[in-house]
């Protein structure tokens, strides 16, 4: 178990709301869409699994977060692994006659794809991707949520789920050679995500929806900005409108260089963008250009968490606090998710430095 106990946890969702409104709360909030389970396990000193919601809440509470991220989608943040509902659907429905179901290359969407053509599209068990069970953790969390904490529903993987089901090269070529087909896949996936999201707005402890959907490589958008405008962003806009009608915030995550998409992301109506990929974007420049129209989270590079020292991590957090936090609009987070391959001691150093340098007013 970690000795991190600098302050008594004092979760307060209002801290996040103020931050995205560009106001200064008592301190800079910590925010993550995912802290991988081995990191949570090390922190609590016992194993935490993807279905152990009680322990996950305990982790985010004790580590100083104001919200617990819960996946409300067939596809979660992070790796497409055994625990992903989409993997279960594929194994049970698509590969029901397959003998070797342990073989990841047959079912993981990181290795393989299932929608090559329209017949595959028609045959795909779409109804499995919007089953009420996908919301079960969201209901379960109510029993454990401490006062002041809210839940962030991670969802909205429209772009990633569509191309992963199709396979990237097939998706990319068909986007031009059979655009209607790709458009139909997008529509299907987006409707499923929206149907799931519709069910969450009556839940009072959901504070935000977090669209976790990578749009860019390190060199730029994965498809043209116009193709995003034609096929993906209108769906995000619908999600944003629904969120705001229900007084729920909308966060957006994408890896990669988003420079060419920034105006679109603002136009969608997102409240916060994460993580401003430190491998290819400058947080200071992004803040300078768009900081009055959007809040940010992230930018503590995962490579720094993996290979840096605790002192270097502290220095980076200090730098972010100095440049990003004054006036609000910034939450401290890693440069992607908090991964198990980063050094645990560096993650703790990141939390401690946030505590040390993140109190408002910032005087650095």
């Amino acid at each position: 178990m970690t000795d991190f106990n600098l302050r008594g946890p004092s979760p307060d969702w209002e801290r996040i709301r103020k931050t995205v409104r560009h106001e200064e709360p008592d301190r800079v909030p910590l925010l993550e869409a995912l802290v991988e389970y081995p990191v949570q396990s090390q922190f609590l000193g016992r194993e935490v699994t993807s279905d152990d919601i009680k322990s996950q809440v305990e982790f985010y509470y004790k580590a100083g977060y104001d919200a617990v991220p819960i996946t409300v989608s067939a596809m979660a943040f992070g790796k497409v692994d055994d625990a992903s509902p989409i993997s279960k659907v594929i194994r049970e429905k698509m590969l029901k006659d397959e003998t070797d179901k342990q073989d990841m290359t047959k079912w993981s969407l990181e290795y393989t794809s299932f929608i090559g053509d329209r017949q595959d599209f028609e045959n795909f068990p779409w109804e499995e991707l919007e089953k009420p069970e996908l919301l079960s953790q969201l209901y379960e969390v109510k029993d454990y949520l401490p006062e002041g904490m809210k839940v962030i529903a991670n969802s909205g993987k429209i772009f990633t789920l569509a191309w992963m089901l199709m396979g990237f090269n097939n998706f990319a070529t068909k986007l031009i050679m059979d655009e209607q087909f790709v458009s139909d896949v997008f529509d299907k996936v987006a409707h499923i995500q929206l149907n799931l999201l519709d069910k969450i707005f009556d839940i009072p402890y959901v504070g935000a929806v977090w669209i976790v959907d990578d749009l860019s490589f390190g060199t730029g958008p994965m498809i043209s900005p116009q193709a995003f405008r034609d096929h993906v962003f209108p769906w995000y806009k619908k999600i944003a409108n629904k969120c705001h009608e229900n007084d729920v915030l909308l966060f957006q995550h994408s890896d990669g260089d988003l420079s060419l998409l920034m105006e679109d992301i603002i136009d969608i109506g997102s409240d916060l963008l994460h993580p401003i990929d430190p491998t290819c974007m400058s947080m200071r420049e992004v803040k300078k250009k768009y900081g009055d129209r959007l809040a940010f989270a992230g930018n503590v590079a995962n490579e720094l968490l993996r290979s840096g020292t605790m002192e270097e991590v502290e220095e980076r957090v200090k730098e972010l606090m100095k440049n990003m936090a004054p006036g609000g609009g910034y939450c401290l987070a890693a440069g992607n998710s908090v991964t198990e391959w980063g050094k645990f001691e560096n993650y703790i150093a990141m939390l401690k430095a946030t505590e040390k340098y993140g109190k408002y007013p910032i005087r650095l």
Binding site: N169, A172, M177, G220, M222, I223, S224, T279
Partner: protein, 213 residues
């Protein structure tokens, strides 16, 4: 004659995959030089495509459709070339290294290399160093292309290069590397022959490495 070449070039640049076969056929019927169609029409077109991609004027789907268009055109020409005229631009083995299953980048590079006339042997993902060096020994490619997405799997690239050296294979094959966390400095440090930032750069690099062999 240059009118045919211009049309072929333009149709590849703008990915007009439906009309390329007709255009190539027309050029052939007009007795156009086949080598010229390939090099001054098609390869030159893909250079423009690579440039447009590098300048974010087009994106991966457009670039891939240009590669598909070129491939369709090449397929019309290939049966007409005599044995010794069927000039492969070189043989390239491609894979992601041990522990890395991320193959989007590798697959894009393969499509572009094939479009540019290279013979590509795709060994897939998560390739062990032992199996890989065995394949290099057996196939004797001009180039070995290694891809890694994760900082944790990057060191495998060095392992592969060191193993090639140990087995006396390093001088017979050029090694090009790519993947999100890599850069030219890393490539140089681990002893690779070159680094490509994206699929378009990989094609330029592959041509350069084959020419230097």
């Amino acid at each position: 004659m240059s009118e045919h070449l211009d049309k072929i070039k333009e149709s590849i640049i703008s990915g007009k995959y439906k009309e390329i076969e007709t255009l190539v056929q027309a050029a052939i019927e007009d007795k156009a030089d086949l080598d010229q169609i390939i090099n001054d029409g098609m390869v030159a077109a893909m250079d423009v495509v690579g440039q447009k991609f590098a300048e974010s004027e087009i994106f991966i789907p457009e670039m891939l459709v240009s590669a598909v268009t070129m491939k369709k055109g090449l397929e019309i020409i290939k049966p007409l070339l005599k044995g010794d005229e069927i000039e492969s631009k070189g043989t390239i083995i491609m894979c992601t290294v041990k522990g890395d299953i991320h193959d989007i980048g590798k697959n894009l590079v393969i499509m572009m290399l094939q479009g540019a006339g290279f013979d590509v042997i795709d060994l897939g993902v998560d390739m062990s160093t032992e199996d890989l060096t065995r394949k290099v020994e057996e196939i004797k490619p001009d180039i070995l292309g290694l891809s890694a997405l994760l900082t944790t799997t990057m060191p495998e690239i060095k392992n592969v290069i060191e193993t090639l050296k140990d087995k006396g294979l390093r001088n017979s094959v050029k090694v090009m590397v790519g993947g999100a966390p890599l850069n030219a400095a890393f490539a140089e440090k681990v002893g690779a022959d070159g680094y490509g930032q994206d699929a378009a750069e990989a094609v330029v690099l592959a041509r350069r490495l084959v020419a230097a062999k």
